[in-house]
């Protein structure tokens, strides 16, 4: 059962990593009373800004959405790819090939439309 190994390894690494961080705290120490400047996040020379002030480009959101769409489409190709030779040997190659080509044509149309609508332009 591979799932047993996966679970065992996950638990082991979680414990191992936590222990490593804890041991490093013991050897390296951890100060309680840090000065206000030390407690700030990293900034180069000027007073630090909190991340709340950061505006994030909407393009990241768009990329994530488009990724989900296209990734699902690609995952649909996997079961087709794995059975492609089997279908050919059973004489149904043409049907499977043409139906996947239609699917890929829709995929290409989607990609083309996405490029045309400038969803992938970064400025």
């Amino acid at each position: 059962m591979p799932i047993g190994g996966v679970i065992f390894l996950t638990i082991f690494i979680a414990v191992f990593g936590t222990a490593l961080i804890y041991l490093a705290r013991l050897t390296g120490g951890m100060r309680k009373n840090n000065s206000a400047v030390k407690k700030e996040v990293y900034e180069c020379g000027i007073p630090g800004q909190e991340k709340k002030d950061t505006k994030i480009s909407v393009k990241f959101y768009l990329t994530a959405i488009l990724f989900i769409l296209f990734d699902i489409e690609i995952i649909f190709m996997y079961p087709w790819a794995i059975t492609f030779k089997e279908f050919i040997s059973k004489g149904q190659g043409a049907f499977v090939f043409v139906s996947m080509m239609i699917f890929i044509a829709i995929f290409i149309f989607g990609l083309f439309w996405e490029i045309k609508s400038k969803a992938l332009e970064w400025d």
């Binding site: 059962m1 591979p2 047993g4 190994g5 996966v6 065992f8 390894l9 996950t10 082991f12 690494i13 979680a14 191992f16 990593g17 936590t18 490593l20 961080i21 041991l23 490093a24 390296g28 120490g29 951890m30 100060r31 840090n34 030390k38 407690k39 700030e40 996040v41 990293y42 180069c44 909190e50 991340k51 002030d53 994030i56 393009k59 990241f60 990329t63 990724f67 296209f70 990734d71 690609i74 190709m77 996997y78 790819a81 794995i82 492609f84 030779k85 089997e86 050919i88 040997s89 190659g93 090939f97 080509m101 890929i104 995929f107 290409i108 990609l111 490029i115 992938l120 332009e121 400025d123």
Partner: protein
């Protein structure tokens, strides 16, 4: 995990050994990276501490031990501390699914007044029938650890680095996933061991009802899928956040990206995760396109027959065959790891819009084209 106690224990030890191999590979790779960069760029690498600077690894570890544990006040502490631990998990889980060598069979034996075995131990953490899907799925969880670190640090630089890294990882995952559709079509399996077995022996394929054989070339995937190889390898660079795709860490603009607030062992764990992804990428490229643990042209049976003329007992022959294939696998792994390092110190970094353009507008259409052409050729020749 096994039929009885002995098998379960051996399998657990095997998983831990693979994990330790991964952790151990990191300081050596870091040393190789710094030393190699020194040779490539004509400057000094670590060359003072011990012979060839090898003791530098120990000195680094000692320095990490003495680092103060510190989290900035704006940090979200649970996320900040959990992120490095979680960074280890996807890399290790995925790496354990890659086969290292042929299975080792152990004959029945007596121990503690009980008879055990016979056993067959696979030389990989666990064999998955859906190996590829598992590896792709698990290793892409790395995007979450990067987001955890970026958001948890409470720093602007971390957040920007994490956003860039996750957008980059998901974009190149499309090209990565699509570039191996051709490979899957070719072998008709998700199982990595079956793929390696399909690449044994000299180049041989059947076209138009005839069998064509080229004795001087190995039967590797790279000769059937050269474009897939290039696309997969390039996407793997982006997946593991390596130069020329290391926009997430671009020192000139983001200092260190998502791990800017980390130090000591916490940062080391991110390093293990990153180098783990390099190991996965190298292992996968070797398995898909270069015959995995196989030896060029010779099949496993050939190697076994050759060793059979030198050793008496079948157990020794089995063990030696396993070791030879293990060495073959590690050699391929080392070659690809070196290419990773060499590319890092040779190519300059992309601009971010160029990076996204390359992923979406160049690699994705080429990977689609590769899929179509592969399907067409497989359909026409058979």
């Amino acid at each position: 995990m096994g039929k009885d106690l002995f098998e379960v224990v051996v399998n657990c030890v095997k998983l831990l050994a693979i994990f330790l191999f991964m952790v151990q590979a990191v300081p050596i790779l870091v040393w190789l990276e710094r030393r190699g960069s020194a040779f490539i760029q004509n400057r000094f690498g670590p060359n003072r501490v011990g012979p060839l600077g090898l003791m530098q690894l120990l000195a680094d570890a000692l320095k990490f031990l003495k680092k103060e544990d510190f989290a900035p006040e704006a940090a979200v502490r649970p996320l900040f501390y959990a992120a490095p631990v979680f960074a280890l998990i996807p890399a290790t889980l995925a790496y354990c699914a890659i086969p290292f060598s042929i299975p080792l069979s152990v004959e029945a034996f007596e121990l503690f007044g009980q008879s055990w075995g016979p056993y067959i131990f696979k030389m990989q953490g666990y064999e998955m029938n859906v190996g590829i899907v598992f590896i792709l799925g698990v290793s892409s969880l790395a995007a979450y650890t990067i987001m955890m670190a970026g958001w948890g640090s409470g720093s602007k630089f971390s957040l920007m680095g994490a956003l860039r890294a996750s957008a980059q990882i998901v974009s190149y995952e499309l090209a990565l996933g699509l570039s191996i559709v051709g490979v899957i079509m070719l072998y008709g399996t998700f199982n990595l061991t079956d793929m390696v077995m399909a690449q044994q022996g000299p180049l041989q394929f059947s076209a138009f009802g005839k069998v064509i054989q080229l004795g001087w070339l190995p039967n590797w995937g790279i000769f059937y899928q050269p474009l897939g190889f290039i696309l997969f390898f390039a996407a793997a660079f982006a997946e593991s956040n390596r130069l020329p795709f290391d926009l997430a860490e671009g020192e000139a603009e983001l200092v260190a990206g998502f791990h800017v607030e980390y130090g000591g062992f916490k940062m080391l764990m991110f390093f293990i995760g990153e180098y783990g992804h390099m190991l996965i990428a190298s292992g996968l490229v070797a398995t898909f396109f270069l015959g995995g643990y196989g030896i060029p042209i010779w099949t496993v049976a050939d190697v076994r027959a050759w060793l059979g003329t030198m050793f008496e007992s079948p157990q020794t022959v089995d063990l030696m065959t396993m070791l030879i294939h293990l060495v073959s696998y590690l050699t391929k792994l080392a070659i690809f790891l070196w290419i990773f390092i060499q590319v890092r110190w040779t190519l300059p970094r992309f601009r971010y819009d160029q990076l996204m353009e390359l992923g979406w507008k160049t690699m994705l259409p080429w990977a689609l084209g590769n899929t179509i052409v592969t399907a067409l050729v497989i359909y026409l020749v058979s």
